[in-house]
Each structure stands twice: as C-alpha cells, then as structure tokens.
Point group: C2
Chain length 196, copies 2
Amino acid sequence: MSTNTIEASSPKRPPTPRNGVDTPKLFATIAVVADQPSLAEFRFRAQGRWMGGTHSRTTISGFYGVGGEMRHVEAIEADSDHPSVLCGEDRGPTPVEWLLHALAGCLTAGIANIAAARGVSLGSVACDVEGDMDLRGILGLSRDVRNGFRAIQVRFRVTGDAPAETLRKIVEQSRARSAVFDVLTNGVPVDIKMNS
Amino acid sequence: MSTNTIEASSPKRPPTPRNGVDTPKLFATIAVVADQPSLAEFRFRAQGRWMGGTHSRTTISGFYGVGGEMRHVEAIEADSDHPSVLCGEDRGPTPVEWLLHALAGCLTAGIANIAAARGVSLGSVACDVEGDMDLRGILGLSRDVRNGFRAIQVRFRVTGDAPAETLRKIVEQSRARSAVFDVLTNGVPVDIKMNS
C-alpha cells in the first residue's frame, strides 16, 4: 500500500475514518490503482450552451474513470454571466470567479483527506480566495496587460486537534497534490475547434 | 473609441444591440476604460468552507471593480465534492470539472460579444469541454505524472447568419481575448497561506 501522497504520520497505525473521510477506503483505492494504473485514466466533461448575451449554462453529468463511464449522482447545471458593469445581466458568477471556486474546492478536499490520513480531526476549514485582474487585457486596450489574473491569493483558516504547525503542513501537502493548483500555476494545453 | 479587441467589421457603421448584447454600451464601456485605466482594476473573490469529507461550498457574492465594491445581483453558493469512486459522496461536481465549466462560460460570452460587435446574429452556441487526467499524479503513485489535466479540448457548434469561416474567426477571437483560456494555458502565480 502506498502512503507516499498522504503521508500518514504513523504507517503502522491502521487508518480509521475521520473528518467524514473513509480513510481505509481511500488507502485501499490507492493500493488498487497502484496495481492497475489504467484505472487512473480519467476524462472529465462539461457541456456548455449559450443562453443569450453573455449568459451561458453548463451541464456536468458524467465522466470516464476507473475503466468505464460514470454518472454523477445528480447532474448539475451552473450559470455564468458578466456583471452589469461589464455589460452583462449578472445571471451568474463570472467565469473567472468559477476558477477561484474550483481552487477553493480542490484545496479544501485535499486538506480533509490528508488530515484524515495523518490522524488529525478537523474542526473547521474556511478560505478566502482572491484574484487580481486588469481588464484592459480582455478589453484589448493594452498589449502589455494579460487577459487573465495576474495573481491569485488564498488564505485558509483551519482548526483541528493538532498544533498550528501540523495544520500548516496539511495545507502545504494539499497544495502539493492539488490538481487545480497544478493547472492554474503550470498551465495546460487547451485545443479549441469549431465543428462545421 | 477603441475597437481593436472586438474588431467591428465596419467601424463606420454604428453598433446596434444584437445577440442580447448591448453593443453600444459595450463600446462605450471600452471607451470609458481607455480614458481611465484605473477603472480596469478588478479583484474577484470566492469564500470557501468545508462541509465534511471532500465536500465544500463556495459563496460568490461581491468583487471590486470600476473603482469600488460591487455586489452580484444574487450571491451564489456552489458545491464541490469527489465522486464515490474517489471516496467522496458526490455532493457536487469535482473541482476540475468546475475548471471546464469556467472555460465554457468565458469562451461562450466572448463569442456573443464579438459576434455582436461584428454584426453577426447568432442562432446557437454549444460546446463540449473535456479534460484528460491520470490520477496517479494526485494519488502520489508516480513522479512522472502531473497532478492536473494533461490536455483540455473544446469543441464548439455555432450557428448564425454568417458563413462558417466568419463564425470560426469569431471563436478564434474569443479564444484570443479569454481570461480563463489565458489562465489555464499560461498559468498564474497562486499564493496560499494559513492564518494562524
């Protein structure tokens, strides 16, 4: 069994469920994937459709993983729009705010998993995520300004039955294994085509 | 008035509302920001909180922009979770699916704005977004596998009162001015701290 990701503080102590995380199942899942790497291949999906103006709606319902097609318990629809000051009708968060949401969700899930694996019971986890942007980029008003965020900052408040330094190391390990943090900081190739 | 972003096909023809986009307001907004670049400074925000296990909830309610604090018409709450096969309870999309949602929303809004500015009336815009990921990264099973997506692909279907080549150029210009595309492909510095 691999414990190199979640680094249980004492590998000899059997993991127990904690923080709402089924820690034994998590360890067992890692062991199964270690034996059969093809199970680790996932393809996540979202279907978008234009609703009018800058308003669009996305459906997230299924994905490919662990060797087959999977369905979410419930398909989710979520809206994006521009606010009034950007000539939208504010029928949902802006797309860039959804990026901040994704980051918060990924880091928070990692904190819960890693704390459980390390035998730390959490009391609460909260975060403020902020992203700074100069809109002259997307408005085409300056060649020196990028389209996206120039910086994102995340501030966590975490309570649990461990010293602050232990909690801080859990946050750091969540960052080190976060899929969203990796994509946002390192980038990923995005191929866009229009079917004719 | 600057038209360098949205490249109206005929700058001499006054822009008219189209596709649900208030095109005159959009051009006027760009002109105002060109005169007062400080209005372009935005700070977007999301507040996350842990709900138990890998489930978290984000609130998106306000942002800073055009020189002051702004509120969305409605605060939005959105959930993230891991699916059952990843030891979660599937109480919401995964954080990485939210990234795909953000990309769909940003590119679709751009298509509507740019089509309006170019005098093209859209019939429909839809897209499929997919992201491929090898979970051995986040599970810590391979040093050669990254945590995040290795590739994302977006396929658009667009109808409107213009030839396919014109529609394709609108999609391309949306990509060229997309904040989310920029962040996902080029990356952004992300600073994470825990307040003690």
